[in-house]
C-alpha cells in the first residue's frame, strides 16, 4: 500500500485526512454519506476517543466495509495527525491499513501499534487474529473490540449489508471478554449501546406517537437516547458492546501490579 510521507501530508489543509482516505480500500470519492446505525456510531466514537486518549499508532481490523471505513474515518482519517504524521513510514502503514481476514498485507514486522480496534470478531478468526494482534500490540497498548450481540443486534441494518458476516458467526461481548480474561488480559468496564432500556423507551415513544401524544413521545425519545449507553451488567445486553482490554505483559511490567 502506497503511503504518502509526512512532509507531503502537511502541505495543505486537510491533507492528513485526504491521505488516510486514499488508503482506505473502496474509497475513491471521499467518505461515504451513508451512516452506520446509532449503536455502531456510538461505539465507534467511544473507541476513537479511547484511541486518541491513548495516543500512538493505530490499526483497524474489520471485515465489514462500512464499519471499517467508519473506523478509519475516526482513527486514521484524522485532522490533527499523530500516527498518520508520525516520522516512521512503518507507523504510517500500521496506522492507515485496514486489515482484513487475518492481518494479511505488507506491513513492517517491526512495527508495533498502540491501539488495535477490532470490529466484530468471529469465532473462526479469533485464534489467529488475536495471536497476531498480541504479537504486535505495544507492551502498554490497548485492544478495543466492538461486538454485535446476536440477540438484539441481529435486526441492525448493518447485518444485512454486503460483506457482513452472519450474526451466528460473531462473538458476543461476553464471549470475547471471557476469552480475553482466560488469556490473562485485563478489561475495563464494558459499554453497551442500544440496550433493553433504550429499546423499551423507544417502543413507548412509538406508542405515544400512535395515540397522538407528540409532546410525550418527544420526551420518551430523548429519554431513550439518554439511556442508550449501558454500563455494568446491562452493558452485555446492548445491541453493540465495546470492550477495552490491556495485554498481560502491560500489567506484569508494572511494579506491584496484579498478575
Amino acid at each position: 500500500m502506497q503511503v504518502q510521507r509526512p512532509s507531503m501530508l502537511a502541505d495543505r489543509p486537510g491533507a492528513a485526512t485526504h491521505a488516510a482516505r486514499m488508503a482506505v480500500p473502496g474509497l475513491t470519492d471521499g467518505w461515504p454519506t451513508r451512516r452506520p446505525s446509532l449503536a455502531y456510531q456510538w461505539a465507534l466514537d467511544q473507541a476513537a476517543r479511547a484511541a486518541w486518549e491513548h495516543g500512538g499508532s493505530r490499526v483497524v481490523v474489520a471485515d465489514h466495509p462500512l464499519l471499517g471505513q467508519e473506523a478509519m474515518r475516526r482513527l486514521g482519517g484524522v485532522w490533527f495527525g499523530q500516527a498518520s504524521l508520525a516520522p516512521e513510514d512503518a507507523r504510517d502503514i500500521a496506522a492507515l491499513t485496514v486489515v482484513t481476514r487475518g492481518l494479511s498485507g505488507p506491513t513492517d514486522p517491526r512495527a508495533a501499534f498502540d491501539t488495535a480496534l477490532w470490529i466484530e470478531p468471529t469465532a473462526a478468526q479469533w485464534p489467529t487474529t488475536l495471536a497476531s494482534l498480541s504479537e504486535r500490540l505495544a507492551e502498554r497498548g490497548q485492544l478495543l473490540v466492538i461486538c454485535t450481540t446476536p440477540l438484539l443486534g441481529r435486526n441492525l441494518p448493518e447485518r444485512a449489508a454486503p460483506g457482513a458476516a452472519p450474526v451466528t458467526e460473531l462473538l458476543s461481548g461476553r464471549a470475547v471478554a471471557n476469552r480475553l480474561l482466560a488469556r490473562g488480559w485485563t478489561l475495563d468496564a464494558p459499554l453497551g449501546f442500544r440496550g433493553v432500556r433504550a429499546l423499551g423507551l423507544s417502543v413507548l415513544e412509538r406508542a405515544a406517537t400512535v395515540i397522538r401524544r407528540p409532546a410525550l413521545a418527544d420526551r420518551l425519545g430523548v429519554s431513550a437516547r439518554a439511556a442508550f449507553v449501558e454500563r455494568g451488567w446491562l452493558a452485555h445486553l446492548g445491541s453493540v458492546v465495546l470492550l477495552r482490554a490491556h495485554p498481560p505483559q502491560a500489567w506484569s511490567a508494572q511494579p506491584g501490579a496484579a498478575p
Binding site: 495543505r12 489543509p13 486537510g14 485526512t17 482516505r21 475513491t28 470519492d29 471521499g30 467518505w31 461515504p32 454519506t33 451512516r35 446509532l38 456510531q41 456510538w42 466514537d45 467511544q46 476513537a48 476517543r49 486518541w52 486518549e53 474515518r73 475516526r74 484524522v78 485532522w79 490533527f80 459499554l191 397522538r212 407528540p214 409532546a215 418527544d218 420526551r219 430523548v222 429519554s223 437516547r225 439518554a226 442508550f228 449507553v229 454500563r231
Partner: protein, 464 residues
C-alpha cells in the same frame, strides 16, 4: 415554470448575497453601539480560541442529538454565520483583517472538499459524517457571499470559492438529492423525505448561485422556486397555528411538529424567492411564518422549542445563541414593511454572553425529558458554547454595528459556573485552552480546544 408565476426577473437589484447583511433603517435599539461592539469583539476573540489548524472545532449540543466526543473541525452551518459576520465586519470597519478571516474560513471549507463535492464532517450534531443537510448548503451560501465580495474588490481568488460552492450545489446537493421522477428535493436519496427548513437553505444557495451563473434562470425556475413552493405547501393556512411550517414529511406522512426556530430559518429563503420572482406569495408566506414564530416568544424574549398540532408545546430547551437567527429573519422582512420589536430577544441574548465571549447553547435542557421548568442550574448541554450556534449570534450582532466602528481589543476570559449532571452538581469551566466539567473531584468531561476528540467523557455524559 408555474403558469401563474410572474417571470423570473434577472434585472432586479441584487440584494443580500455578497453584500453586508444589513444596513436597513432600524428603530433605535436599547443597547448602545459601544456595548454591541464589545459583544462582537468578545465573540470574535472566543471564536479564535475554537480554531484548530483546519477549521473551527468543538463539541455540539442539539435537540435531536449531540456530538460531545468528536470535537474536530465541522464544515457545517457554523461557517454560514462566521463568513457572513466577518464580511459584514470588513464592510462596516473597512479593515482588511476581517476579510482575511472570512477568506481563512472559506479556505477551511475548500480544504475539506471531497472528490464527491461534499465537505468533510458536515453533519454538525452527527459529525464526523459528510453530506450534511442543510449544512453543506449553508457553507455554499457563505462561499458565494465571500466570492461576490472578493470579486467586487478585484480579488481574483473569488473564483476558487465560487467553484467550490458550485460543485457542491450542482453535484453533491442537486446531483444526489434531487429526485428527477418526482421533480422535488429529498433530504435523503433513499427515502422521500422533505424538510422545509433544510430545503430553504439549499434554495437560498441555488438563488445565490443563479446570480452568478449563465444558467441562472433555469436554476431558479427548475429548482429554487419549486422547492419554495413545496415549502409553502407545508405551511398552515388557518387556525391557531397559521403561518407555521411543518417540520418535515416522510412521503405523504406529515410530522406534525412546528419548531419556531426552524420556521424562522425558512423566512430568508422565502424573501429571496420573492426578490427573484416578484411572486408575492413567497413574501406573504414569509410574513405569516414570522407572525407564527413571534406568537411563541415568551415575555423575556426567548422562544419555545417545539409546538405540536394540538397546540401543546415543549418549551425547553430554549435556544440562546441560535435565537439570533430568528432576529435575522425579522430583519430580512423589515425592508418589506414588517415591524417587530427586536429588543426583548436581543436583551435576553446579550445578557447571556459569558466571560469567554461565547453565548451558551440553551436554557432548560434538563426539562427536555420532563414537564415543568428546568433545574435552577444549567446542564452541560445548556452551558456548552458551540461554534455552530454562536455563528448565528455573531452574524446578527455584526449587522447592528454602524459604519466606521472600531472594535476594541479584548481577550476570551476564563470562567466557572455551576452545572447540573445526572450524578450531581458540578463546576463547568472554560478557559481559552479547554472546556471542563468537574463533579466532586472527578473530571467527567474535558476537551482541549482544537483537538479532534474529547480527552475525557464519562459515559453518562456522552450523549449522541
Amino acid at each position: 415554470m408555474t403558469p401563474d408565476r410572474p417571470d423570473v426577473g434577472h434585472d432586479r437589484p441584487a440584494i443580500g448575497h455578497g453584500q453586508p447583511d444589513v444596513g436597513h433603517d432600524r428603530p433605535a435599539l436599547g443597547h448602545d453601539r459601544p456595548a454591541l461592539g464589545l459583544a462582537v469583539a468578545r465573540l470574535d476573540a472566543w471564536l479564535e480560541t475554537m480554531r484548530g489548524p483546519s477549521g473551527y472545532t468543538g463539541p455540539v449540543a442539539h435537540w435531536w442529538q449531540n456530538c460531545l466526543l468528536y470535537t474536530g473541525p465541522g464544515l457545517d452551518w457554523r461557517y454560514e454565520g462566521i463568513i457572513h459576520g466577518y464580511l459584514t465586519l470588513a464592510s462596516v470597519t473597512g479593515e482588511a483583517r476581517w476579510l482575511a478571516k472570512a477568506k481563512r474560513a472559506g479556505d477551511d471549507i475548500r480544504g475539506g472538499q471531497l472528490p464527491s463535492g461534499h465537505f468533510e464532517s458536515s453533519c454538525f450534531e452527527l459529525n464526523p459524517y459528510t453530506g450534511g443537510t442543510p449544512h453543506e448548503a449553508a457553507c455554499d451560501i457563505a462561499l458565494l457571499a465571500l466570492a461576490t465580495t472578493l470579486r467586487e474588490r478585484g480579488d481574483d481568488s473569488w473564483r476558487a470559492y465560487q467553484m467550490a460552492a458550485e460543485r457542491n450545489v450542482r453535484v453533491a446537493q442537486l446531483g444526489r438529492l434531487w429526485n428527477g421522477e418526482s421533480g422535488m428535493l429529498q433530504d435523503d436519496p433513499s427515502t422521500p423525505t422533505f424538510v422545509p427548513n433544510k430545503a430553504a437553505t439549499l434554495s437560498e444557495a441555488i438563488l445565490a448561485l443563479a446570480r452568478v451563473s449563465s444558467d441562472g434562470v433555469e436554476l431558479i425556475e427548475r429548482y429554487a422556486l419549486p422547492i419554495l413552493d413545496h415549502i409553502r405547501a407545508h405551511q398552515i393556512e388557518d387556525g391557531p397555528q397559521r403561518g407555521g411550517i411543518w417540520q418535515n414529511t416522510y412521503g405523504s406522512q406529515r410530522v406534525e411538529k412546528l419548531f419556531p426556530f426552524y420556521v424562522a430559518r425558512c423566512v430568508p429563503a422565502l424573501v429571496e424567492g420573492y426578490r427573484a420572482s416578484s411572486d408575492e406569495r413567497y413574501l406573504t408566506s414569509a410574513l405569516e411564518a414570522m407572525e407564527f414564530v413571534l406568537r411563541y416568544r415568551d415575555a423575556d424574549g426567548g422562544f419555545a422549542q417545539v409546538v405540536y398540532a394540538d397546540g401543546s408545546t415543549n418549551v425547553y430547551p430554549r435556544w440562546i445563541a441560535g435565537v439570533a437567527d430568528i432576529l435575522r429573519a425579522i430583519e430580512t422582512l423589515r425592508p418589506h414593511g414588517y415591524e417587530a420589536d427586536l429588543e426583548p430577544t436581543l436583551s435576553w441574548l446579550l445578557a447571556a454572553q459569558s466571560p469567554s465571549g461565547a453565548f451558551p447553547t440553551a436554557e432548560g435542557f434538563s426539562a427536555q425529558t420532563a414537564t415543568g421548568r428546568p433545574t435552577v442550574a444549567p446542564t452541560l448541554r445548556d452551558v456548552l458554547p458551540v461554534v455552530g450556534w454562536n455563528d448565528k449570534a455573531f452574524r446578527f450582532l455584526t449587522t447592528l454595528l454602524p459604519p466606521g466602528v472600531q472594535l476594541p481589543g479584548v481577550r476570551s476570559e476564563a470562567y466557572e459556573t455551576a452545572c447540573v449532571v445526572e450524578r450531581g452538581t458540578g463546576v463547568w469551566a472554560e478557559t481559552p485552552r479547554h472546556l471542563e466539567l468537574r463533579v466532586a473531584n472527578d473530571v467527567v468531561y474535558r476537551w482541549e480546544k482544537g483537538s479532534a476528540w474529547a480527552t475525557i467523557a464519562a459515559p453518562d455524559l456522552a450523549w449522541k
